[in-house]
Amino acid sequence: LTELDAIVGIYGAVDEAVQSDSDARARVAQLLPPYRDPDVHWYGDFVRWLSEERGVVAKRSESRFPALADALEQLGGGAAEGRMRARRMFAIAVAIRAFPEIGEPESALGSATVRALASPPSVEEPSATPAAEEPSAPPRADELSAPAGAEEERSAPAPAGVAHGGRRLQELLADNELLGGANGTRVLKLSTWWDQVVATALSEGVIPDGVGLRPMPCSGRVLTVPGVAGPVAALETQFQTDEVGFDAATRFIEPVNWKTCMPNFWCDMELTGRGVLPVLYRYHEVVSSDCKAGRGAPFRAETDLLFNFRWLPDEEHAEVALANYQLSDGRPLPDDLIRVDEGTVLVSKVGPGQTPLSITTTKRIQFSYPFSSEAIALIMCALGYADLAGQLLYCAATRGNAVGSGTDFPGESAPSAAGAPGPGAVNATTPAPGAASAAASSQVGQLVQDAAGVWARFLRQGASAIERGAAGGPAGGSGVAGEAPEA
């Protein structure tokens, strides 16, 4: 089994735990909003579906993904690299909400977690002994959030650096204060929480660098859209970065690079031909949780995708590099697990220079099992199937400047604008509210409910502030009402 199998196993254990523990569900929903719906579940169906596809009638307990303890032990066997570091950290942060003992270093699960989060000795503390052999004393409580503590950490010797790094990261990921308050009211946006975790870990030296850690994994927006053949789940991720330049980023859009950037999921992405026009490219895609296991992998699917690539408005004046894809003619085959797979990868300049960039990815996916949109979002999170943006950024950041890295973006210029580019997009860094691409998935009833909830919270806290003010106490309570959980 692979690191990815272990991560799927962790998310699966979380999914099973929250089915019977509403408190755990609420805590997990802080990081994975689809769990706000008390009926959302996926793992049991996922395991049964994959088993049935193999012609095996399996019980839930017969999952081929590892159980929680085994998964953590497996992750502890080797340090994560690249984008998988972020995915491992986020999976553990989620698991801590479902299984609080994972956040306790002295417990069996907790010590396995420390090892799973530890950085390689070579980048942190060359003389350190292995984590399991020499755990360090836990930091004081006041070090967990105070900047002064961070300074002390940097200047203090770290005789058990590896263990300490893992333990400190475990604390940061478990820290509800960082997430927005121990009282359960989330103040921060999830992306802000993640950035703070990463920034703190970096400043304290418990992770060697921040490459590949942004954007936050599983941060895509899930929508249910009226597709060509009926409702289908769509995931959209959009973020801005100044970590890489436009030219470097475009060298990793072509799908053959996906296998290079995330070899533990994209086992194959081979150009197999051209479409009816030369600007259309056909690729054979094989994705798996264990590429080496072939058809014996716990999850494996393959299909053919048709791509086209565009510079906008044209190559000479490029502001945007765009790849669109959809299932190729002839797909899906009757036995295909993937019934719908289409979307876009869009890299656009935000200003006149190479940076900053806006990276947008969308993906519509439908499997041969009728998962709900929320379940599909969680499956995609576990597999990393919709993490193209994170991969692309990681690859460009680590290899973008190396000679021969990536491939030339095979874009055509849009014929209607070629030779006569217009003023182009504003590329506003602060677009008007609501103007960002806004396909809405929210059901109206849910929106009204959310609005009423926000308003009620505002009322409660405002009233509380007034009461305290009238009583001569501090007029607290502001600063929370307007910060709502992310959609």
Partner: protein, 164 residues
């Protein structure tokens, strides 16, 4: 002039009640249109503007939240999508040069489902957006050209919109 705590609470409650009623009215109207399949780009634009107006009467924090909700609302059906802003000469009349496409021989968004907001820029306006009813179309980024017509000529503007 001093205010007692009860005055403040009363004013606060009145403000809250008024805003909540108006917000609920907006949401209920949008909900009716949504259920009836009548929600379109025009409805989205109007409701977004109304939401913004309501929100400005509240407090900044609540306004932020309402605008976030309105953003999701503005594309209220799963099929209504709004683009990022594009720039054209002030005062221009805007016309789509043709359908938006995701690539040759592939899916297109016909002119009839693409709305320019606004289609006529004022003397001080230089930005516009696209709004699309993408029901039944593939998830993709569609691109094309908007012609900006002014007294001095026509300027083509490259545009695109991502349909999740």
């Amino acid at each position: 002039v001093g205010f007692s705590a009860s005055d403040i609470v009363q004013g606060y409650a009145t403000l809250a009640s008024s805003l909540l009623e108006r917000w609920n009215g907006l949401a209920a109207d949008a909900s009716r249109k949504f259920d009836a399949g009548e929600y379109d780009c025009e409805s989205a634009a109007n409701d977004l503007a109304t939401s913004a107006s309501l929100a400005t009467e509240g407090i900044a924090l609540w306004a932020e939240e309402m605008l976030k909700a309105a953003s999701a609302f503005a594309g209220p059906g799963p099929s209504i999508v709004t683009s990022e802003p594009f720039r054209a000469p002030a005062g221009a009349t805007l016309e789509l040069a043709g359908p938006l496409t995701k690539g040759p021989t592939l899916d297109e968004l016909p002119v009839s489902v693409v709305h320019l907001q606004p289609s006529q820029l004022s003397a001080t306006e230089t930005e516009f957006t696209l709004c699309v009813d993408a029901a039944g179309h593939r998830g993709a980024t569609y691109f094309g050209t908007v012609n900006a017509l002014t007294k001095t000529g026509t300027a083509p503007v490259s545009v695109w919109i991502t349909v999740p």
